[in-house]
Amino acid sequence: MPQRVAIVGIGQTRHTSRRPDVNDGELINEAVSAALADAQLTMKDIEAVIIGNMEFFEGHHLNDAMLIDYTGARGKAGLKMNTGGTVGTMEVISGCYHVASGLFDTCLVIGWEKHDEASTTSCITTITDPAVDRPYAVGALSGLAIISMNYMTRTGCKVEHAAMVRAQASENASRNPNAHVRDRLSVEDVLKGRMVLYPLNLYFLCPTSVGACALVLASETKAKKISRKPVWIRDHITVHSDYSGALFTFPGETRETSHMVAGRKIFQRNHITKPIREIQVFELYDPCAFLQMSWLEDFGICDQGEAWKLVEKGVTAREGEFPVCPSGGVLCTNAIGDSGTLRVAEAALQIRGDAGEHQVTRDVKAALASGYGGSYWTDLLLLSKTPD
């Protein structure tokens, strides 16, 4: 039987557009120190270190070697992750495997990115098929625009609904001192945004941020000994897609995305029949306002074509019945290698009741966190207040 795994330490830097005052190692160390302090542990207590970012954003490859002074990993076990938007969640999942296996009692997980050091969109363009697709890709933006347009066509969602999502995210981010873009925007403000990639204006897209997030994971025995408020990683799943993520369904085919498979399997095996009632918060990896809605449907939180109606009714607001991204989400803070780790961190803070100004109004017993990325795969984690 695998060991149960808990999050016993959470640390993050403030997020911003530029940090020329620190190098990557110094940035990481801010999050590592904060997570260790939160766990009331020192580096001596940590047995394995998982680190990840997307190296092309900084143009500094195999940087984990040079970062060793700041991560504390010297002489310890661990892995390096490089999987696009899922870097951060893959790291937590990898940390889980390390601890659940029984080989390690503690594991430090570090996700980070410094988007002020290169052209993010140009780097992401290089993830596509070099011969056939690359000339027609504009970083991640092109995929987000194609999905958004398809979502509107399929479901009747209007641009105004995406503006509601973004306005709501801005309200949440304004309460989160660590979020990057914290301006409060009305639906009208969002609709007036500068067009970047039709149909997406600047506000429908996530920013490029600088930041780091670190978590300390511990085995059940260790967690119960050292932590007053452990948050349990109840289950997690990774699901791969076809290249291009099965965006379109042709006659005779059933639409099946990696999010759909992940949601269905994780709810089934945890006996969750009505996720919208049984889970109190979802920190969903939402790089684009339209996708927050489309992916809520794909994860099975509501039926297809229903998410924009939930947004309209305020269900997904911080005070709503099913708050989505009370932190402000990826829409307001996006340091890619840290975005996934941050989703898990923010979901865990909600369970602990430590989210401060952006704490949701209901008691959180179970929360979801997701990751998604250019490698066309889905990570989904189920967290809970109690171990079973």
Binding site: P20, D21, G59, S119, T121, S122, C123, T125, T126, D129, P130, A131, V132, D133, R134, P135, Y136, A137, V138, G139, L141, S142, A145, I146, I147, M149, N150, T153, R194, M195, V196, L197, Y198, P199, L200, D242, Y243, L247, F248, F250, P251, G252, E253
Partner: protein, 160 residues
């Protein structure tokens, strides 16, 4: 009052300029050779689940079955239906050339006639008000003598 000295923040400017050469391989290579040779777009089918791939693929990702071989490849397009699109209005650095993207730049996902497959390619029309999901489009090829066995052998898709 105490004098505060602010040290200038030091950053190192760099440019990574590295040439790459990517092997298109057996299937994508033949797909590109056919663009040059015949001006035709090809797809292939999984004999088990019937799903098509364009460009043709060696193995079906869903059935883990060998896809149909070269002699059974099917000709798709040049006409098709627009499934989705975007129009880039802000320019970005194109990493494969080092140039800035010329905007407006519009790209469509085109469901090609003949099989359920979609290809991403440039649209001739760049005014988003004149582009509609569901509209019919057709591939415009370069003249044969100018074709180079790359995806640019198709100039763009135009509205029909």
């Amino acid at each position: 009052m105490q004098q505060k000295t602010t040290d200038e923040l030091i950053t190192q400017e760099m440019l990574l300029k590295i040439p790459y050469r990517w092997a298109a391989g057996e299937h994508i290579g033949e797909f590109l050779r056919e663009l040059r040779r015949s001006g035709k777009i090809y797809a292939n089918k999984c004999p088990k689940c019937g799903r098509f791939r364009c460009p043709p693929a060696p193995v079906c990702s869903r059935c883990h079955t060998k896809m149909e071989e070269r002699e059974k490849w099917v000709h798709v397009g040049p006409k098709g239906t627009l499934l989705s699109f975007f129009v880039a209005e802000q320019s970005f650095l194109v990493p494969t050339t080092g140039d800035m993207l010329e905007v407006p730049f519009s790209v469509g996902v085109i469901w090609l006639d003949g099989a359920p497959v979609a290809l991403w390619h440039q649209l001739e029309e760049t005014n988003p008000d004149k582009i509609k999901v569901g509209m019919r489009v057709e591939a415009v090829f370069k003249p044969k003598e100018q074709r180079q066995a790359n995806i640019f052998d198709i100039l763009h898709f135009k509205a029909i």
